[in-house]
C-alpha cells in the first residue's frame, strides 16, 4: 500500500520530497506556542522533525531506556517495533513529556523538535504537549462530553479561544473521515460510538489542536480489522501534514504504514532503517529473528 520511498532520512527539518501529493485541504499553519519561528521560511508543507539523542529513561530504579538515539524525519511515519517491555511506549511518552507523569519516572538526554529542546527547563510542558499530540492504545474519549465537545476539548482544556469552533470541529472530523458518520449526532455522547469510531474521534481531538507531531501508541491494537484498516489509511493521509511516530505490535501494520522502522529490544535501539529493509534484509540478526517471528 505504501512502499517506503528512498528519502534522505538524515536531512531533518527540511521539506521532504517523499510526499508528492498536494495537501488535500488547506491547512492553517500551526501557531508556534513555545518556540521561536524557525529560521527557514515556513513553507506550506514544511514539516517538523524530532531528534532523540542519548535518551535514558527510568522508572524508579529500573533503567527502561538505554542511550536511545533516533531521528524522526519530518512528514514521515516512523514505526517502533519490538517485543513487550522493549521500551517503545516509553520512548514515545518521553517525546511529549508524558513519561514524567508516572510517579518515580524520569528521563535524561536530549529531545529536540526542530531547534526546540523540549526538556529545556524554561519550556512549558503543556506547550510541548500542544505541539506533540498523542493517541493512546485504548480509545479514551471524555465520557461526560458530546462528540462535538470531545473534538473541541483540546482547545477548551488549553484555554485557547477559537473564533470558529464549529468550523474547526467540522474540519477535524472530516480529516479523520468521521464527519459523515456523526454529523447528525454531534451532541450525543462520544462514548456511544463504536471502538473504531471512538479512536478516530480521539485522533480528531488531537488534530484539532493542530500539533506538529502525532505520537500513536498502538492506536489500532484494540480495534477490529476493518477499523484498523481505516486507521492505517488515515495515518497515510495524516503524514502529509504531520510527522508521525507509531508504536505497534503488528508487523504487517508497520510494513504497511511506515516509511522507516525502528526495532527495539530491552530498552535499546537495535536497528533503524527503511521499513522495506527491516522486513526483507535486516542488518542485525536479532531484528531478523524478531520480524520472522522466531521470538517476541
Amino acid at each position: 500500500m505504501n512502499p517506503p520511498e528512498a528519502t534522505s532520512k538524515e536531512q531533518t527539518g527540511e521539506p521532504t520530497s517523499a510526499v508528492d501529493a498536494t495537501p488535500a485541504t488547506p491547512v492553517s499553519t500551526p501557531v508556534p506556542v513555545a518556540r521561536q519561528p524557525t529560521s527557514s521560511s515556513p513553507v506550506e508543507k514544511a514539516g517538523h522533525a524530532v531528534d532523540v539523542k542519548d535518551l535514558n529513561a527510568y522508572y524508579g530504579g529500573q533503567h527502561a531506556i538505554k542511550n536511545v538515539t533516533i531521528k524522526f524525519p519530518a512528514n514521515e511515519v516512523t514505526a517502533l517495533i519490538g517485543p513487550s517491555g522493549s521500551g517503545k511506549s516509553t520512548v514515545v511518552r518521553c517525546i511529549n513529556r508524558m513519561h514524567e507523569e508516572i510517579p518515580g519516572a524520569r528521563a535524561e538526554g536530549s529531545i529536540t523538535l526542530d531547534e526546540l529542546d523540549i526538556y529545556d527547563p524554561s519550556v512549558d510542558v503543556t506547550a510541548v504537549r500542544r505541539l506533540i499530540g498523542m493517541v493512546f492504545q485504548k480509545p479514551n474519549p471524555f465520557p461526560t462530553m458530546s462528540i462535538f465537545d470531545n473534538v473541541a476539548a483540546g482547545l477548551r482544556l488549553t484555554g485557547t479561544r477559537s473564533k470558529d469552533l464549529k468550523e474547526l470541529v467540522h474540519r477535524s472530523l472530516q480529516s479523520v473521515g468521521l464527519w459523515d458518520e456523526v454529523k447528525d449526532r454531534l451532541n450525543e455522547p462520544g462514548i456511544g460510538l463504536s471502538g473504531g469510531q471512538q479512536q478516530r474521534l480521539c485522533i480528531a481531538r488531537t488534530v484539532a489542536i493542530e500539533p506538529e507531531v502525532i505520537l500513536m501508541d498502538e492506536p489500532a491494537s484494540a480495534l477490529d480489522p476493518i477499523s484498523t484498516l481505516k486507521i492505517e489509511e488515515l495515518i497515510d493521509e495524516l503524514k502529509e501534514r504531520y510527522t508521525i511516530v507509531i508504536v505497534t505490535h503488528n508487523m504487517q501494520q508497520a510494513a504497511r504504514v511506515a516509511n522507516s522502522t525502528v526495532f527495539m529490544l530491552d530498552g535499546e535501539v537495535i536497528e533503524h532503517d527503511e521499513t522495506n529493509k527491516i522486513f526483507t534484509n535486516p542488518s542485525d540478526e536479532r531484528t531478523e529473528r524478531y520480524v520472522t517471528g522466531k521470538f517476541g
Partner: protein, 295 residues
C-alpha cells in the same frame, strides 16, 4: 453435551456432606440477615406507630412554646433550625472535603504527607460526635467568641467537623474511580493540571461526589451530641445564626424526658420527621447515582 449421562459420569459426584454443608451455610446466612433486619423494621414501625398520629398542619407550622399544659406547639423552629445548621455545615464541609480529596488523589497520591492526611481522616471518622461538640464548646462557646455563648454557627462547625472525614473519604474513593487514561488524554492535549481536574476529573465523578456528600449531610442532620453543647436549645424560629437555635435532635432529646405524654408524643413526631428528611436525602442521592450509571 447431548449425552448427559456420559459426561456426568466423568465428573465426581457432589458428596452428601457437601450438600449438607451448603444447606446449613445458606440457612445460617438467611437467619443472620433476618436478625439484622428485625431492629431496622421495628424502628421504622415504632416511629410510624407513635409519631404519625402527631403529624398535622399545626405540628409543622407552629413553634414549641414551652407550655407544660394545654397546647405545646409544633416543631417548625426545630425543622428550620436543623436545615439552617446543616446547610451552613454543608457549605463548609463539602467544598473543603472535596478539595482535600482532590489534593489526595491528584497531587498528594502516595507521598508521606498524603498518607498522614489519610490516617488522620480515618481517625476523625472514628471520633465520637460528642467529642466534636466538646471541642467547639471549649474553643468557641466558653470563650463567648462572636459575642454569645451558645450559637447556631458553632453547632454548624461541630457538624462540619463530623461531616468532613465522611465527605473526604467518599470523594476520594469516587475520584480514584476516574480512569487514569482520561487524565492522560487531557494532559497529552496540553491541558494544565487544574483544567484536567475542573474539566475532566470532577465532571466525570460528579454524581458520586453528590451522592457521598448527601450521605454526609444525612449523617450530620441527625446528630444530637455536637449540638447539645454548642447550639443549646430554644423555642422560637430564628434566622440569626449567632443565637441559640432549636433543632430536631435536641428537641427530641428534651421532649422525650417530659412526664407529659403529649410532649413525649411530639418527640416521636419529630423523630419521624427527622427520619423522613434523611430518607428523602438518601432517595435523592440514589436517584442521582442511578441516573449517572444509565448515562
Amino acid at each position: 453435551m447431548s449425552s448427559g449421562g456420559m459426561s456426568l459420569s466423568r465428573l465426581p459426584e457432589i458428596s452428601a456432606r457437601r450438600r449438607r454443608t451448603d444447606k446449613v451455610m445458606r440457612a445460617s446466612l438467611l437467619v443472620g440477615t433476618v436478625i439484622a433486619l428485625i431492629p431496622l423494621v421495628l424502628i421504622i414501625y415504632y416511629l410510624i406507630y407513635k409519631g404519625l398520629g402527631t403529624w398535622n398542619k399545626n405540628f409543622f407550622t407552629t413553634d414549641p412554646n414551652g407550655n407544660f399544659f394545654g397546647n405545646h406547639g409544633g416543631i417548625r423552629s426545630a425543622i428550620v433550625g436543623t436545615l439552617e445548621i446543616v446547610c451552613l455545615a454543608t457549605l463548609i464541609a463539602v467544598p473543603a472535603g472535596i478539595g482535600v480529596a482532590v489534593w489526595l488523589t491528584e497531587y498528594g497520591k502516595q507521598s508521606w504527607f498524603a498518607s498522614l492526611v489519610r490516617y488522620f481522616v480515618d481517625v476523625m471518622t472514628g471520633v465520637p460526635s460528642i467529642v466534636f461538640g466538646l471541642f467547639i464548646y471549649i474553643v468557641l462557646v466558653i470563650s463567648h467568641t462572636g459575642g454569645s455563648g451558645f450559637a447556631a454557627w458553632k453547632g454548624a462547625l461541630a457538624v462540619t467537623l463530623l461531616m468532613l472525614p465522611i465527605v473526604i473519604r467518599s470523594a476520594e474513593v469516587v475520584l480514584l474511580l476516574v480512569p487514569n487514561n482520561l487524565r492522560e488524554a487531557a494532559l497529552a492535549l496540553g491541558a494544565p493540571r487544574w483544567r484536567v481536574i475542573t474539566r475532566v476529573v470532577l465532571p466525570t465523578s460528579l454524581s458520586g461526589l453528590i451522592t457521598g456528600s448527601l450521605l454526609a449531610v444525612a449523617r450530620g442532620m441527625g446528630e444530637t451530641a455536637p449540638l447539645l453543647f454548642t447550639v443549646s436549645t430554644a423555642f422560637v424560629l430564628t434566622g440569626n445564626l449567632n443565637t441559640q437555635m432549636n433543632t430536631l435532635p435536641v428537641q427530641i432529646y428534651n421532649d422525650i424526658k417530659s412526664p407529659e405524654p403529649s410532649i413525649v408524643a411530639r418527640a416521636w413526631g419529630a423523630a419521624l420527621t427527622l427520619v423522613a428528611l434523611v430518607l428523602i436525602l438518601n432517595v435523592i442521592a440514589r436517584l442521582i447515582a442511578r441516573r449517572s450509571r444509565l448515562g
